[in-house]
């Protein structure tokens, strides 16, 4: 699958939508007090003041979320005019959604991929059990059919194995994320605007494969938890 890599506009100097004064912050004119309408180029990363990256400083993310809420929440504009109230609601809505989607790494990953035009459903293959886990898994299946006590002990063993496997996969995932972010850091923002980067596309494909593996492991963990409830 090919993907167009959309470079996100870096904040360029703009003027107030209402009075024309140069803006100090992206959303509010300190001269006339007008809130600035949302631009079409805004995304979850940009609205919280981040470049699109898979790994974010979540402490800073929360700090930005609080700062922006403090400035833009509709409660700050209760007695303002209808237009400011509307824009405040619109901006705060986007900020809330952005924060929710960027706060956890899984949601952030899936948003990142979507933003860059990779859709995880598009090349979903029939998932197979990872070879490393296969033996124990099939032993467990056999035990389930035969003896519950045997199955319970197999299940405990499988749980440990799955846990260790997931920890290794997570390391791999984080390593690819770091690679993607590093590649993005190296891109010249001016040059990359509207162009695609094959290097990143390749990395993103790799990332996508790992993400799909994660999804499979999630459902496997769920199945296991269900079995645990029945057996233990």
């Amino acid at each position: 699958m090919r993907s167009g890599l959309v470079a996100v506009d870096q904040a360029s100097p703009r003027n107030c939508n209402s009075c024309g004064t140069a803006l100090a912050t992206g959303f509010l004119c300190t001269h006339c007090g007008r809130l600035q309408p949302l631009g079409s180029e805004e995304n979850y990363f940009s609205v919280l003041g981040f470049a699109p990256r898979l790994q974010l400083d979540t402490v800073l993310l929360e700090k930005r979320f609080y700062e922006l809420s403090r400035a833009l929440h509709p409660d700050r504009f209760t007695t303002s005019d209808a237009e400011n109230r509307r824009i405040s609601t619109e901006r705060m809505t986007l900020i809330n959604d952005a924060y929710r989607n960027l706060k956890t790494s899984a949601l952030r990953r899936s948003y990142f991929l979507k933003l860059f035009g990779f859709h995880s459903a598009a090349n979903q293959k029939n998932p197979r059990i990872p070879v490393e886990l296969a033996e124990t898994w099939f032993e467990l299946q056999d035990a389930l059919a035969e003896s519950p006590t045997e199955a319970a002990s197999k299940l405990r063993g499988f749980e440990v194995e799955l846990g260790e496997f997931r920890a290794r996969k997570l390391q791999a995932l984080l390593a690819i994320e770091a690679e993607v972010d590093a590649a993005l850091d190296k891109l010249d923002p001016a040059q990359s605007a509207g162009t695609r980067s094959d290097a990143i596309a390749v990395l993103a494909e790799k990332l996508l494969a790992e993400v799909q593996g994660e999804t499979y492991l999630d459902s496997m963990t769920q199945n296991m938890e269900h079995m645990k409830k029945l057996l233990l």
Binding site: T30, Y66, R70, H73, P74, D75, T78, N96
Partner: protein, 620 residues
């Protein structure tokens, strides 16, 4: 980062007050325009016209004129049929909701459809009007205390109040001559007052057991930001239930002793309820108390209650607060040990039994340093101060208490906005049609936590017309839910192919009732397992039906292209699947469906070749 903000200067200088409209007592508070010497913007409770902090939420009609407060409370026994109390439990609810949830009341509620009506003498009132009488008294008290007109207010409601109850509260405010700038949740308001001391930071739980409702909220306090992480509750649970439990025991004892049915005598009934309330209050500060009721001119009923006996009586009621607390913690992704404080709010939190259960649930000593009766009104005043633009240090970030979604094929609720989503928010999802050439879809807006539509509350229905006729599954219909900072929901549906659009503001005239929210939540805890199985069954059935329809359509081709025994086999599997689909047995449906699929593989290959051959022919 500090930013200069313009455009939100208060447009006038009339004060905005904070009101706690409680089940048992109400209060009004205000943050004075000038900050204290330390710069702190501290709220003060405004004295009532009777010179007290509390105004009992009791309305008594004397010669048809309403009297509110302690004066009315005195009439609770003397003139029980003309004296209305605990009206908050009736607000925004219907007659049918009362069954079993309310205990008996000495005043008369008229049976009927729609909103609850209360008969007082020869007049009939709604709960909104009674609430308005209380709010009017609060307004007059504030005006007297402040020496100026008061027309704007923030009013608190239980976090678990549904849309109908919130709207009813707003309406009552309007009837009382108040512009209700915001409805905020009681536990959240309490947290604002608690966090006024900026040293109080971190993760807290507010355990708010009021007269008629129980709320639990988990918040993160960070340098003036009050972020609600999750909220839960039981809107049919409160201190009133302790009174009811004591009263029911008393009624039972009186019947056993003298054969008198006290519930049929309004005055005696009111006297028993009052004695029960006094006993409860006394037992919060002493270890035994004698409940006394004058039954008639000759007989007085007496029963000595010890704290132990009282606690044993109310334990089953208190135990019901555990599940919501655990749910709220789970929704916030926290363990009890992550909390830095558990704050007790509400009059009943004075009882040792309440402190005990909170300690047991959270594994720590609860903080009962806040004033349990005044903290909610104080918090409402702080929010009023924020909305007036005078407190720029504090900000409340709130969430939706119940999930919102729409009905989809198979009678399932598809959630668009899960509970505890921060507001304002928007959610969009794309749906499609189920039947061929369908030109309209019904958008059925739902609120609740269950999987089946019938188990949730219907908020509103509307129709999106003008969909281009297409085969099933082709149209793309985008449904969007918008919730503003006031918690008001707007729903829009748009056909992405034709651009045809419909939208409504969901303002239920008769919304989700307390009893329903409660039933739904309790039920969703009990039935999570059953729901999951049912949802899976619907999914499997839908898939199998698609396989069946396709196979039936291709059956004539099977007889044309395959050896007869193979075609017969397909026919046989079609019949088996049809039979299986009449059952609710997931495994047999899946098995039959997979057999049919297997049997049809060869046919599919042949058909595919057939198509290729035809298209090659066509190209020649």
């Amino acid at each position: 980062m500090s930013l200069p903000i313009f455009g939100s200067q208060p447009t006038d200088n009339t004060p905005i007050v904070g009101i706690d409209l409680g089940t048992t007592n109400s209060l009004v508070a205000y943050v004075p325009a000038a900050a204290s010497e330390s710069g702190a913007r501290n709220p003060m409770i405004l004295k009532s016209r009777e010179g007290k902090n509390l105004i009992p939420s009791v309305v008594s009609f004397m010669d048809g004129k309403p009297v509110v407060g302690y004066a009315a409370k005195e009439h609770k026994v003397r003139d029980a049929v003309h004296t209305i109390f605990s009206v908050k439990r009736l607000l925004g609810r219907g007659f049918d909701d009362l069954k079993g949830s309310l205990g008996t009341l000495p005043y008369k509620i008229l049976p009927g459809q729609g909103i609850i009506r209360i008969q007082v003498g020869d007049r009939v009132y709604t709960a909104v009007e009674i609430s308005a009488a209380i709010l009017r008294e609060l307004k007059l008290s504030a005006e007297q205390a402040l020496g100026m007109p008061v027309t704007r207010a923030v009013i608190t409601v239980p976090a678990y109040f549904n849309d109908s109850q919130r709207q009813a509260t707003r309406t009552a405010g309007r009837l009382a001559g108040l512009d209700v700038l915001r409805i905020i949740n009681e536990p959240t308001a309490a947290s604002l007052a608690y966090g006024l001391d900026r040293k109080r930071q971190g993760l807290i739980a507010v355990y708010d057991l009021g007269g008629g409702t129980f709320d639990i909220s988990v918040l993160k306090l960070n340098d003036g930001i009050f972020e609600v992480l999750s909220t839960n509750g039981n809107s049919l649970l409160g201190g009133d239930d302790f009174d009811q439990a004591l009263a029911n025991q008393t009624i039972h004892d009186i019947r056993t002793q003298w054969g008198i049915n006290a519930a049929e005598n309004a005055t005696l009934h009111a006297a028993i309820l009052e004695a029960a309330e006094n006993t409860k209050i006394a037992l919060s500060s002493q270890d035994h108390f004698t409940l006394e009721v004058k039954v008639d001119s000759e007989r007085v009923f007496r029963h000595e209650w010890t704290v132990e006996a009282f606690e044993a009586l109310v334990q089953p009621i208190l135990e019901k607060t555990r599940e919501p607390c655990l749910k709220a913690l789970a929704d916030a992704g926290l363990k009890p040990s992550d909390l830095s404080d558990v704050v007790l709010v509400g009059g009943p939190s004075r009882l040792a039994a309440v402190q005990k259960i909170a300690r047991d649930i959270f594994g720590r000593d609860p903080n009962n340093s806040v004033h349990p009766d005044e903290v909610v009104a104080a918090g409402a005043a702080i929010q009023a101060d924020i909305l007036a633009g005078r407190n720029r240090d504090f900000l409340l970030l709130d969430v939706v208490p119940l999930s919102l979604g729409i009905e989809t094929y198979g009678g399932l609720m598809s959630t668009l906005i899960p509970r505890n989503t921060r507001i304002p928010t928007v959610a969009r999802e794309t749906f499609t049609t189920f039947a061929d050439r369908q030109t309209g879809v019904d958008i059925h807006v739902l609120q609740g936590e269950r999987e089946k539509v019938a188990d949730n509350r219907s908020l509103s229905r509307f129709k999106l017309k003008g969909i281009q006729p297409m085969p099933a599954g082709m149209p793309r219909i985008e449904v969007s839910f918008l919730i503003d900072a006031d918690g008001i929901l707007q729903v829009a549906a748009k056909d992405l192919k034709t651009g045809s659009e419909q939208s409504i503001e969901v303002r239920p005239s008769y919304g989700l009732t307390d009893a329903e929210v409660e039933r739904m939540l309790l039920a969703s805890m009990d039935h999570a397992e059953a729901d999951a199985v049912w949802r899976r069954l619907v999914g499997v059935k839908n898939d199998a039906e698609a396989v069946l329809v396709a196979a039936e359509k291709r059956l004539p081709d099977a007889f044309r292209l395959l050896p007869e025994p193979d075609a017969r086999k397909i026919e046989q599997h079609i019949n088996e699947l049809r039979t299986a689909l009449k059952t609710e047995h997931i495994e047999s449906i899946q098995r039959a469906s997979s057999h049919l699929n297997q049997a049809s593989i060869r046919l599919a290959e042949l058909l595919f070749k057939d198509v290729i051959a035809q298209s090659v022919d066509g190209n020649q």
